[in-house]
Symmetry: C2
Subunit: 569 residues, 2 copies
């Protein structure tokens, strides 16, 4: 028994170890740990091949500092993060349609617009149909009273900037020319279209009567304190431009309630009879619309009004999370408080011409006796050593853009008020900078129209070209008998441009201005988007003036956007 | 017996497998093949960590073409080979002293020389002690007759280029001022120093007599055809500048035999009485020295003479393997053929002043009646669309450099011939380009001195500044009574420079000329070494003119060499 047991035990152990040994025989090749050999799976891995030769290497940059690079098979690889800073170029990782990852290197991340036809001064202004002036961070909001943007760029309190107001007008004019017909839904016109207003049982009144002042049937309302005549939006509207003609007493207001379905919040826009630009309390946003005994028409981009309310106290760098998504916003209801009359309450997908005419009207109202649109802000040109421009300075770019607006307003409406304002705006082009105008003489020889009329001059390029386009616009819509002065200014300007244009060429981009020549300091290179603007401006001018310098410069400068550079000797 | 046998066999197997199993227990952890785990040796290898994340990625360049990049841990790495072409920058792998490999990125691989003191017009010219004009590939050789370089840059046949001849002179003058006293060994002076000449037993003669013409004892020789009076160099000389004064008959010659110990070849330099510049037959190199009845002094850089002989028929790109190493060359022997007299046969480590005076003398001999040094070569400015300059054109740079040489020659020797030639060289600065001179008016306003007097003008910067330095040199050595004209030209030029200098700033380098302004074509950027020349020139001028524009521009442009760039708006 004992022997059998022993035999069995040993057999068991023997078979067990035999089994294990056989297993080892199969596994052994895979266990050989040798630096130069891998299993068959490893051998086919690229990583394995690279393993030996991919290494860190220090890049000594101009003997000045070092950057961690990589070296592989004799080639040195440089990190893009460093190249971005050193060369001021852009790049980003993207996934292609096939879900493959690539890296998009962009020498200059700005768009060139190639004109399809000759520039039409009665049509789209440059490529401004792509501009959204009111959505710029520096725009505080669109004012309730004037219906034009207020900027905070050089003064956080906010101020009207003629150049910006004109761009606002030109952008909307251009969108009107390029976008499809807008959708319009009249909600209340006191006549054929009646809204379903809810009126408070006691202390509230609503009715429709003929009003002589506006020669129309209007909707009248009256409520006691804290009560409202309101209108619920039963069907969802995807249109957010509200237009309303109204005449209300000073303690009255119009409110729009808008729901953010993504966040589950409701914003309340209040258009109140105050001169305060914009106040906010939580989700209540108060726009002052002035109010007077006469009627006024408001055209409001409700999304913009809400967004600006949300952003009012939020610094730029914290705004991205608060950006509203149009499709998540729903207009819930419209409320009237106090006493007054309204007419033509409308919701549209856009109302570009109304916004355009707000800009044109503002320009007519705010032109001074010299024909200028004064910039009521202090302007410091940092790094130049120049004295600040004191509030009241004129800008050739502001004059030019304003003239572009007024020329279109005259063409579109036939109203000579706009033409006269535009013609009056020319006067400032004859006045030297030293006497408060915008005219300078580069190297005491070549006339220039200054965007910022400093002494010595800066001769900024893009603002000058915009002023030329404005002069061309006016030249094109003026009656011949009134076009002598604008023709002179335009031809003088174009002649200067052709003589001076090459001075702005850096061989790999363009200069923003000529401070390095006029002030003898370091040059100011045009940032990528400004360089693209130069190209776009020249492409536009090349369609109206056949001098080859315009087209050839535009072509060369467009090449610079793609990383091309002029050859060296 | 059988049972015991069985037990023993089984035990044996059992113990064997037990042993093996125990072995496995120790080995097992090292054999686990798992993508995330390696043996302890692998874990410590960086390569192993990188294996998973290091990948290829395609870089799309400006939406135009693609480059193979790498991606690791979210960072994209770009191959330097591409960056070199795209940005025109340099880089190379180097081993540090500690045998570590680094990559030296050089934005611009050219040297800036910071002056240690005010520029001295009687001393070193700029930093030309670093120049080796005769070693430039485009220099065919130093002519035997005149002792000045001949260039092939714009005509493969070779021609004298005043600018180059002057640079040759200035480089040797500068080396004379900066190098230690040369070693000189007189081998034969017909008097106190006698060489050990071997004279053929029959038909050969050698002797020393007093010669009236040179007022010195000289060494006379005469040999029959194919025989030679020769001098074996018994002690090795590490000095290769040969100087000899000689008067030989037209069928005579001087030969130097030089051995290349590295290649085991012998070169034979022959200075022959021909006007042919240079002929070669195998390792026999024939330099024409003209010969006349009067005496002449030759100063020859023997290494350069041999090198140019070796290179004569070899295109530039195949020359690197044929570059001679000084330490491998041995002068074996000196041979005289024919009849004649020699004096002061000397071997020196250098003889810079002789070479300088060869240049100065050439300039005196080749100045025309208008005071100009005509360039007898057609000059095409490629890519400019300008007409070629026909042979005979003057260059402000050539005039200026020549004046720099002559001013130093006058200062050093006191001989008014040099001063008068320099003063006469000023005339061309007053003559407009249209009338064959070098004076232009940029934008019809600012006087410039043209390196290449084209119409319209190019206004090259470096040549203009060299001409200013030449004017300054002459101004500094002229007697006051003769300095009015040069003072005017210098001050006019400096005034122009200060007004125009900023036009050459690209914001990241400098322009070579102003063709983009004067011709309205693409700019010509100064190549890295020319940009560095601009910096060096401005640094020099800043020591003699305190206007801050010179120093501040030099400083900014020096920053560009290091990859700095002007800021954008």
């Amino acid at each position: 028994m004992r022997i059998i047991k022993i035999i069995n035990l040993k057999s068991a152990v023997a078979f067990l170890c035999l089994f294990v040994c056989v297993g080892i025989l199969f596994m052994w090749p895979q266990c050989t740990v040798d630096n130069n050999e891998f299993s068959s799976t490893w051998k086919h891995s690229e990583g394995a091949k690279n393993l030996k030769q991919f290494e860190d290497i220090s890049c000594q940059i101009n003997g000045d500092y070092s950057v961690k690079c990589k070296k592989l098979n004799g080639e040195v690889y440089v990190p893009f993060t460093f190249l971005h800073k050193y060369f001021d170029i852009s790049g980003k990782l993207v996934k292609t349609i096939t879900n493959e990852e690539t890296f998009e290197w962009a020498h200059c991340n700005a768009r060139i617009y190639y004109p399809k036809s000759k520039y039409n001064p009665k049509g789209v202004f440059a490529y401004f149909e792509n501009y959204s002036v009111e959505n710029r961070d520096r725009v505080k909001c669109v004012s309730g009273i004037e219906g034009v943007p207020i900027t905070t760029q050089w003064d956080p309190a906010g101020y009207f900037y003629p150049t910006q107001i004109a761009q606002y007008g030109l952008a909307h004019y251009s969108k009107n020319r390029t976008e499809p017909e807008p959708r319009r839904k009249v909600l209340e016109d006191g006549d054929g279209v009646v809204g379903e207003w809810s009126v408070p049982k006691s202390g509230g009144y609503a009715g429709r009567q003929y009003n002589e002042q506006v020669n129309s049937y209007v909707f009248n309302f009256h409520t006691s304190e804290s009560q409202t005549v309101s209108f619920a939006m039963n069907s969802a509207s995807s249109d957010y431009v509200l237009s309303i003609t109204l005449s209300i007493l000073s303690n009255s207001s119009l409110s729009i309630h808008i729901n953010n379905t993504e966040r589950g919040e409701t914003y309340r826009l209040h258009y109140v009879c105050s001169r305060d630009l914009l106040n906010t309390q939580g989700n209540d946003f108060y726009y002052g619309i002035g109010c007077s005994t006469t009627w006024q028409t408001l055209t409001r981009d409700l999304i913009n009004d809400v967004q600006k309310g949300v952003y009012l106290h939020v610094p730029f760098h914290k705004r991205s999370k608060l950006k509203l998504i149009k499709s998540k916003l729903k207009i819930i209801s419209i409320h009237l408080y106090g006493s007054g009359s309204i007419d033509n309450l409308t919701l549209s997908s856009s109302d570009h011409m109304a916004m355009f005419y707000n800009a044109a009207q503002w320009l007519v109202n705010h032109q001074d006796n010299s024909g200028g649109w004064p910039n009521l802000v202090t302007r410091r040109i940092t790094g130049s050593g120049l004295n600040d421009l004191q509030p009241g300075w004129y800008s050739a770019m502001g004059q030019g853009h304003a003239i572009s607006v007024l020329s279109r307003a005259y063409y579109h409406s036939g109203n000579p008020v706009y033409l006269n304002a535009a013609l009056k705006g020319l006067k400032v082009f004859r006045v030297p900078v030293s006497k408060g105008g915008v005219l300078s003489k580069f190297m005491d020889k070549v006339p220039w129209y200054e965007e910022y009329p400093t002494s010595p001059c800066l001769s900024i390029l893009n603002g000058f070209i915009y002023s030329l386009i404005g002069l061309y616009d006016l030249l094109s819509v003026s009656p011949k008998a009134k076009s002598k002065e604008v023709t002179f200014l335009y031809e003088q300007g174009m002649s200067s441009l052709k003589r001076m244009l090459s001075l702005y060429d850096t061989g790999s981009g363009s200069f923003y201005d000529l401070r390095h020549v006029t002030l003898g300091i370091a040059p100011k290179i045009a940032r990528c988007d400004y360089h693209a603007t130069h190209v776009n401006q020249l492409l536009l001018l090349a369609t109206i003036d056949k001098d080859s310098i315009l087209a050839s410069t535009a072509e060369r400068w467009a090449g610079y956007v793609q990383g091309k550079r002029a050859s060296h000797n």
